[in-house]
C-alpha cells in the first residue's frame, strides 16, 4: 500500500503526463501534504564512477544532544543492481559529520556511515566508522523495493562535545524494535558534534544506477523518529500521600496535657479496672475517644464541654473541680497538634491474653487408651481418648469400595473409577500405598489448590462495577496448583505469597504475589486514597484470616471488643503492605526489550494525554481536567493509534502475572486497563506512609504508625519493616497460630468440620477445639516434618478414624449428637467442582490437561476441562459452580456453605449440560458392557460399588421402559453420587 502511494507520487513528479486536448491544465502552488505524513520528497542519485557527495545539507546549528535519530527511505531500481558474483556490487552511504568538505570529500574515520556495501557475495546494509571495519546486517538489498532506514548516533558518555561513538541502524523498523537494531557499531574515536548530513557515492556506484532516496528526517527520540509526539513529563497523577498538617507543637504532653488528664480523669479512668471500662491512660484506648488534629470532632472534648449534666465529664455532682477554660484550651491544642503521647511516661501496657490459641504449641504425649482395634496412627489414640470421655464407640471400618471412593474423591475430586486398579485395593496396606499415589497425582493438586484459592478470594477480574478482566491472573492459580503438586513446605508457601517479589533472585516468585493482588480494585474510584485504602484493608483482612485465622476486620474501625487487637495493631499490620500495589508484573522470562516497549507505550500515552488535557483546558473545561485512558486512546491519530496498539499487543503477549510489588523489588510492571487506575509511579508508592484511619474512614487520618504485628504477640523489632519480615514472623515455627490454623484446615477439608469448627476464627469468638491435644500434636508434626502438608494427609488418611463407616448408631448419637468425638464418618455433599468433574469423569468427557488460561464450557469441544480451570470472573462464575455454593471470590472463604435448594435438581435434571453428559455417559457404558450389564456398569462407574440385587432389579425394570441415557441421568442425580460417604 505504501509502495503504491509512493509509486503514484513518483509518477506525478517525474513523468510528464501528456496533456490531452481540451482545457489547458496546471498547478496552483506546491503539493499540499497531510500532516500525518504519507508522502515524501524523493531525490534520484546516480554514480559518477568515483567518490562524490551528490546531496548534502547543513543543520540549522551543530547538533550537540546525546542522541540523534536519522531516518530516510531508499529504493534501487532492479536494473541498477549488480552483485559481486557477476559485477562489482553497490555502494551508497549516508554520513553524519562535523564539516561538509566539498563534493569529493571522504566522510570516514570516526564519522558515522550508514548505507550499502558489498558483504562477501552480496550487497548488504552496513554501518561503520572507519572503512576498514564495516558491520553488516543479514539483510540483502533487493531492487524495486522501498526500504526505511533509521539510524541512531549516540554518546556512550553523556555531555556536550563527547564523541558520538555508538551507532545503531534499523532496516524497516517497527515501533517495537527500539532494542533490536539490525546493526550496532561502536567506535573508539568519533566526531563530537554533527553539523552536516549527506549521501556519498563511490567507485561502485555506476552512472546508470537509479537510486531514489527520500528527504532525511531528524529526531531526538525513538517515538519522534516515527512521527509520534515528543515525550512529555508524565502528568503527576499520584496525589501526595495523605497530607498531614504539621503544626508547630505548642503543647508538651508530659508538662501540659498529662497533668490535666491526671488531675481530672485518671482517678476513675485509668488502670486495669477503670470506671465504665473506659481507660484514658492508654494510648490505643484514648484514640477511640478523640480525633487527632480535630478537637471539634473529639468525643472527649464534647463531654468535657457539655452543659448536659448527664453527659458532662467529670460528673458535676462529684465534688470534683471542673476542667477550666485554660485547661480545655490546652487539651484542644494537644488534640489539634496530633495527640503527641509520651510512651515512656505512659507506656502501653503489655497486651496479654490467656486465650488458648495464643499460647505456644506444646507437643502432647500420645494418650494411652484401651482399644478394641489397634491404632493405625497416633490420630486414633487422640480420638479414642475423646470417645472414651464422651462414652461413644467408633464405627466399624467402612467397606473397601466405600474407602476407595472416599479417598479418591477426598484427595482428587474424581470418583474411584478414574483410577484404574484402585478397585483392587482391598486391604489397609494397599490403601496406604494408594494414598501416596493419589497425593502425587495432578488431580490432587487441582482439588487441594482450589481450596487455597477460596482462601485467597482469587478471581480473574477486578470486581466492583466495571469488573474488568485480569487476563494474567491465571498464573497465580497455576502457581498454587504447582505448589500442592510439589508438596511445597508450607512456610515457603507463606513467604512466597506475602513477599515473593522481595525474595533473593534465585528464589524470587512473582506469581505467588497474586495472593495479595487478588483483592478487589475499584476502577471507578477517583479518590486515589480511598481506592488504595480499600485494597489495603482487603489485603490485611485476608492475610490475617488466611494465615493466622484471626478476624481483624473489627479493629479497622475500633479497638477490638473481644479479641486482643487494637486499632493501632490493625494499621501497623497494614504498614507492611502500604508501599506496594497490584499490577501486571513481568516474569523473569520476559524478553529484555519489553521494558522499552512499556516505556514507549507510556510516553506515547502521556503525550496524547497532556495534549488532550491542554485542549480541554483551553476549551474552558473547569479544573481538574480529567481524561480517562479510553478517551486518550480515542484521541490518538491513526499513526499514534497504530503504534500504540502494536506496543500494547506486544506487551500483552509477554509472560506476566497479576501480582503485587513495591518499587524496592525492581519488578517491571506492564499496564493494565482501568477507567481510573491506581497511579503507576511506584517510586511515590514507595515513599508512602501509613496512618491510623479513625473509625476506619480513609479520609479521617490519624497519627502515623510504623510496621508491626499485633502487640499481643510481643514487640516488633525496629528493623522489621518489609513484607519479608512479616512473612518470616508468620512462618516462624514458634508462631502459636500458623501451624495450628493450617493443620486444622487440612482436617476440615478431610472431615467436613475442623477440630476448631470456625476454621477462619481462632479468636475468642470462635469455637474451642474439640481435640486440643490432637490439634497441637498435628501442628508440631507439621513443623517437625519440614512443614509438609502431605505428611499431615498421611497421618489422617491412614487412621482408623478416617476409615470408619458412616453407620448410624442411636446410642452414640444420644451421647454425642454433633459427632464431636468422631464416632462415625459424617457424609457430606461434594463441592461444586467435584460434582461437575465427577460427572464429566464418569461420562469419559474430562480433559485432564493441566494449567494455562481459563477455558469456559462454551469453548469446550468434545471434552471439558476441570472446574478449577473455568473462568473465575467475579459476578460471572459459572452457574454450575455457583449453584452448588462456590464462593463469590469477594472475601476469603474458610469453609463453604452447603445449600440445598430446588434450583439444584432443576439444573441436574433439565440443563443441557447434564443431559449432554448423560448421553456421553450412556455411550461409554454401551462401549464397556453387554446390554444385560448396562445398569450395573453405570452404577459401578458412578458410585464405585456393585449394585445390590434389589437395585439391579429396579434399574433393569426402568430400562424396560426408558433409555439408558435416561437411567444415566437418574444415577447422576443420586445423593450417593453427590455425597462423600
Amino acid at each position: 500500500m505504501r509502495f503504491l502511494a509512493i509509486a503514484l507520487l513518483l509518477t506525478c513528479i517525474w513523468h510528464d503526463t501528456p496533456v490531452m486536448a481540451g482545457d489547458p491544465i496546471g498547478w496552483s502552488g506546491d503539493w499540499t501534504r497531510s500532516r500525518s505524513g504519507g508522502s515524501a520528497q524523493w531525490f534520484e542519485i546516480r554514480g559518477t564512477g568515483g567518490r562524490n557527495n551528490p546531496l548534502r545539507r547543513r543543520l540549522e546549528a551543530p547538533f550537540d544532544g546525546d542522541q540523534l535519530f536519522v531516518r530516510f527511505e531508499l529504493r534501487y531500481d532492479s536494473s541498477s543492481l549488480d552483485t559481486p558474483s557477476n559485477g562489482n556490487g553497490e555502494f551508497l552511504v549516508l554520513w553524519l559529520d562535523e564539516q561538509d568538505g566539498g563534493d569529493a570529500a571522504g566522510h570516514n574515520g570516526g564519522v558515522p556511515n550508514i548505507g550499502l556495501h558489498v558483504d562477501e557475495d552480496k550487497n548488504a546494509f552496513m554501518a561503520r566508522y572507519v572503512s576498514s571495519s564495516q558491520h553488516f546486517a543479514d539483510i540483502e538489498l533487493q531492487g524495486d523495493r522501498v526500504y526505511t532506514i533509521l539510524a541512531k548516533a549516540s554518546r556512550s558518555r553523556s555531555g556536550s562535545g563527547q564523541p558520538y561513538d555508538r551507532l545503531s541502524v534499523w532496516i524497516d523498523p517497527e515501533i517495537l524494535d527500539a532494542k533490536a537494531p539490525a546493526i550496532e557499531v561502536a567506535a573508539k574515536n568519533a566526531i563530537g558534534s554533527i553539523g552536516w548530513i549527506g549521501f556519498s557515492t563511490g567507485m561502485k556506484t555506476e552512472r546508470d544506477d537509479r537510486i531514489l532516496v527520500s528527504e532525511v528526517s531528524l529526531a531526538t527520540t525513538w517515538l519522534e523518529s516515527f512521527g509520534l509526539p515528543a515525550p512529555v513529563a508524565p502528568t503527576p497523577t499520584t496525589p501526595k500521600p495523605a497530607t498531614v498538617q504539621t503544626l508547630t507543637a505548642t503543647v508538651n504532653f508530659a508538662d501540659d496535657a498529662y497533668p490535666i488528664l491526671h488531675r481530672h480523669c485518671f482517678e476513675c479512668h485509668s488502670g486495669e479496672d477503670p470506671e465504665s471500662g473506659l481507660r484514658l491512660d492508654h494510648y490505643d484506648e484514648i484514640l477511640n475517644h478523640l480525633s487527632p488534629r480535630d478537637a471539634d470532632a473529639s468525643h472527649l472534648i464534647a463531654l468535657i464541654e457539655s452543659s448536659d449534666p448527664a453527659k458532662q465529664m467529670p460528673p458535676p455532682e462529684d465534688d470534683h473541680a471542673q476542667v477550666s477554660a485554660d485547661e480545655i484550651r490546652v487539651l484542644r491544642d494537644w488534640i489539634d497538634e496530633g495527640v503527641v503521647w509520651d510512651h515512656q511516661l505512659l507506656p502501653t501496657p503489655a497486651m496479654q491474653s490467656d486465650h488458648w490459641a495464643l499460647q505456644p504449641v506444646r507437643r502432647p504425649e500420645i494418650p494411652v487408651v484401651p482399644s478394641a482395634r489397634p491404632f493405625r496412627t497416633p490420630v486414633d489414640a487422640f480420638t479414642a481418648r475423646k470417645q472414651q470421655d464422651l462414652g461413644t464407640t467408633p464405627a466399624e471400618t467402612a467397606s473397601w469400595s466405600t474407602l476407595q471412593r472416599r479417598m479418591a474423591l477426598d484427595l482428587t475430586g474424581l470418583p474411584s473409577s478414574a483410577f484404574p486398579g484402585l478397585e483392587q485395593a482391598t486391604s489397609h496396606e494397599s490403601l496406604d500405598r494408594w494414598i501416596d499415589q493419589l497425593l502425587c497425582s495432578p488431580a490432587y493438586a487441582e482439588r487441594w489448590g482450589r481450596y487455597w484459592l477460596d482462601l485467597a478470594r482469587w478471581a480473574e477480574s477486578n470486581g466492583h462495577q466495571h469488573n474488568r478482566p485480569r487476563p494474567h491472573a491465571w498464573r497465580y492459580r497455576d502457581y498454587v496448583i504447582q505448589s500442592f503438586q510439589d508438596d511445597k513446605p508450607y512456610d515457603q508457601f507463606i513467604r512466597e505469597q506475602l513477599a515473593g517479589d522481595e525474595l533473593p533472585e534465585e528464589s524470587r516468585c512473582l506469581e505467588a504475589t497474586g495472593f495479595l493482588a487478588a483483592a478487589r480494585y475499584s476502577g471507578n474510584e477517583l479518590d486515589k486514597e480511598i481506592q488504595r485504602q480499600d485494597i489495603l484493608v482487603d489485603v490485611v483482612n485476608t492475610t490475617a484470616k488466611t494465615f493466622l485465622g484471626v478476624t481483624l476486620e473489627c479493629a479497622q474501625c475500633h479497638t477490638h471488643k473481644f479479641d486482643p487487637f487494637t486499632i493501632r495493631d490493625y494499621y501497623r499490620l497494614q504498614a507492611f503492605f502500604t508501599r506496594g500495589q497490584p499490577g501486571n508484573l513481568l516474569l523473569a522470562d520476559a524478553p529484555a526489550e519489553t521494558e522499552s516497549w512499556i516505556d514507549a507505550r507510556w510516553q506515547l500515552f502521556d503525550s496524547v494525554h497532556s495534549r488532550m488535557v491542554a485542549q480541554k483546558r483551553s476549551a474552558g473545561v473547569p479544573e481538574p481536567v480529567l481524561v480517562i485512558p479510553k478517551s486518550v486512546i480515542g484521541g490518538m491519530n491513526a499513526q499514534e493509534r497504530q503504534a500504540f496498539s502494536a506496543l500494547d499487543s506486544a506487551i500483552a503477549s509477554i509472560p506476566q502475572v497479576w501480582g503485587w510489588s513495591g518499587s524496592d523489588a525492581g519488578v517491571i510492571v506492564a499496564p493494565h486497563e482501568m477507567r481510573w487506575p491506581l497511579p503507576r509511579d511506584l517510586q511515590t508508592v514507595a515513599e508512602m506512609k501509613t496512618y491510623l484511619r479513625l473509625r476506619g474512614d480513609a479520609k479521617s487520618v490519624g497519627p502515623e504508625v510504623r510496621a508491626g504485628w499485633p502487640a499481643v504477640f510481643g514487640p516488633t523489632p525496629d528493623e522489621a519493616t518489609s513484607r519479608t519480615d512479616l512473612a518470616d514472623w508468620i512462618a516462624s515455627p514458634d508462631h502459636p497460630l500458623t501451624a495450628r490454623v493450617w493443620v486444622n484446615r487440612i482436617w476440615q477439608w478431610h472431615f467436613g468440620t475442623g477440630l476448631v469448627a470456625t476454621s477462619g476464627d481462632f479468636g475468642t469468638q470462635g469455637t474451642a477445639p474439640t481435640h486440643p491435644e490432637l490439634l497441637d500434636w498435628l501442628a508440631d508434626e507439621l513443623v517437625a516434618s519440614g512443614w509438609s502438608t502431605r505428611h499431615i494427609h498421611r497421618l489422617i488418611l491412614r487412621s482408623n478414624t478416617y476409615r470408619q463407616s458412616a453407620a448410624f448408631s442411636q446410642p452414640n448419637h444420644d451421647s454425642d449428637p454433633d459427632c464431636q468425638s468422631l464416632w462415625r464418618w459424617t457424609p457430606r455433599r461434594l463441592e461444586s467442582e467435584a460434582i461437575r468433574d465427577s460427572a464429566l469423569s464418569v461420562a469419559g468427557r474430562l480433559d485432564r490437561t493441566m494449567g494455562g488460561p481459563s477455558v469456559s464450557d462454551e469453548d469446550a469441544d468434545e471434552a471439558y476441562r476441570r472446574s478449577v480451570y473455568l473462568p473465575q470472573q467475579r459476578e460471572r462464575i459459572a452457574e454450575s459452580l455457583m449453584l452448588f455454593d462456590s464462593p463469590a471470590a469477594v472475601a476469603t472463604c474458610s469453609r463453604r456453605r452447603v445449600s440445598t435448594v430446588s434450583l439444584q435438581p432443576l439444573y441436574l435434571l433439565n440443563s443441557e449440560f447434564m443431559n449432554t453428559i448423560s448421553q456421553r455417559f450412556a455411550d461409554r457404558v454401551r462401549n464397556m458392557a453387554t446390554e444385560d450389564q448396562y445398569a450395573e456398569t453405570a452404577l459401578r462407574l458412578t458410585l464405585g460399588r456393585d449394585a445390590s440385587d434389589e437395585e439391579a432389579q429396579k434399574m433393569t425394570q426402568y430400562l424396560h421402559d426408558h433409555s439408558l441415557e435416561s437411567l444415566c441421568l437418574v444415577i447422576l442425580n443420586l445423593s450417593e453420587f453427590l455425597y462423600l460417604n
Binding site: 473547569p622 469455637t767 467475579r874 456453605r897 432443576l906 450417593e976
Partner: protein, 465 residues
Amino acid sequence: MTSNPWIDRRRFLYGGGLGAGAMALQLLRHAEAEGANVTHHPATASSVIFLFMSGGPSQVDTFDPKPDLGVLEGKDVPESIAKTIPKIKRAGLKNLMGSPWSFKPYGESGIPVSDLLPKTARHVDDLCVIRSMQHNNPVHGPGECVALTGTAAGDRPSIGSWSLYGLGTANESLPAFIGMNLHTDGMQFPQGAGWGSGFLPSGFQGTIIDPAKGIRHVNMPEQTSEQQRRDQLELIRWFNQRHLDQSGGQSELRARLDSYETAFQMQTSAPELFDIGQETQQTRDLYGLNHPDGKTVGRACLLARRMVQRGVRFVQVRVGGWDAHGNIKGNHSKMAARTDVPIAGLLADLKQRGLLQSTLVVWAGEFGRTPTMEGRGKGRDHSPAGYSIWMAGGGVQGGQIIGATDPLGYVATERPVSPHDFHATILHALGIDANRLTYNHHGRDEVPTVFGGEAVGEVFAGHVG
C-alpha cells in the same frame, strides 16, 4: 388422565406403594430456607417490590424541585452551602444547572413532581417521598452495595435476604426472592451483593431470572416425556430414600429429597407465572407492553405483580441506565420512557386488585446527582449527600414528604435518612424490628442494622410522633 405429572406423583405417594412414600410425604413441606419466621409487631406488608434505579436518578429533576437552580444557572455553589457538602470526590461546585423540566403539584396532596414522570405523578397521593436520603459513597458499585446491603464492601446480606430470612417462604413452589436485572447494557454492572445472602445461608439469596425466559432449567428437555420424568423421579427418590435411611436421617439429605419435590412443582408453577398471555390486553397496555421503550420494564413489573400474587416475598427490579453524566435531559428522558408508564401501571394495577395494601413498593437509586453541571456537558455527576426516593403501599402513608435538602438540593438538611434507616423501614413494614432480627454467624449475633439504622416511623399511616 391429567397432564400434570405432579398430581400423579402425589397420587402415587398417597397410594403408599412403598413404605417410604408416606414418610417422604410428611417431609414434603420441609422448608428449603428455614428462616427466623419472626414478627415483632403487626406487619403492614407481606411482600416487597423494590424498583432499583441503577445509575442514580437526579433528585432535582424528579421529586425535589429547586427553582433557585434556574436563577443561579452557571454560577458556583455559594460558600454557605459549599461548606456543608461532604468532602467527597465528584462533588462539583461550579456551574449550577437548572432542571430542564418544570414541576407542578399533583393529587390532593399537591406534592410536586417534574414533567419527566407524569404518569407516576398521578399516584402521588399513594407515595411517601423521602427527600433526605444520605450516605457518603459516590461510586456506583460500592454505592449500590450500600443501597442494597448497607456496606460498600458488599459482604453482608442484601435487604431482600434479610427480609426473606425474617419472613420465611409463603410459596414453596417458587423462589421467595426473585431479582430481575433490566437494561444492563450500561457501565454499571449489577452487583451480586445486591441479591446475595452474605453470611446467611444461600437459600436466602435472590434468584435472578430473565423476565423474557423465566426460571432457568425449569423446562424439561424436549425428548423427555412426562411419564419418563415421573419414573425418573420415582427411581431417584427410591435410591435417595435408602441413602437417607442409611445415614441416620441426616437433615441435609432429607432436605435434598424434598428439593426434588419442590423442583417438580416449580416445573409447573413457574411456566404458569411467566405466562402473561393470561392477562387482558387492557392490563398489558397498562404496563406499557405495547410500547417499545417501556415493554422491558413493563413485563418485569407485570411479572412482579404476578409473583406477589403467588406469595413471592421480595421482588427486586433493577433498571440500569440512569447515569446521566453527559446529558441529563437526553438520559433521563430515555429512562422515563423506559419506566414511567410501567411503574405507574404497577401502582394502578396493585391498587385495583387490592394488593397495594399488602405490598410495599419502593423506588430508589444508589444515590442522586449534583445540582451542578459536570464538566462542560449538560449532565450531572453522582451525589449521595441528599437524594430522593419514594415508598408506597404496604402501610405507607401516601401523599406526604419526609425530609428536605438545602435550597440547591445538594445536601439533606432536615431529617436525614441513611440507607440503614431505609432498610430498617422496609423490615418494619414486614413486622420485623431490625435491631432484634438476629443470625448467629461465627459466634456473634448479627443484625441487619449493625452499622446503625432506625425505622422511619413517619412513613407509616397511623404513626404517632
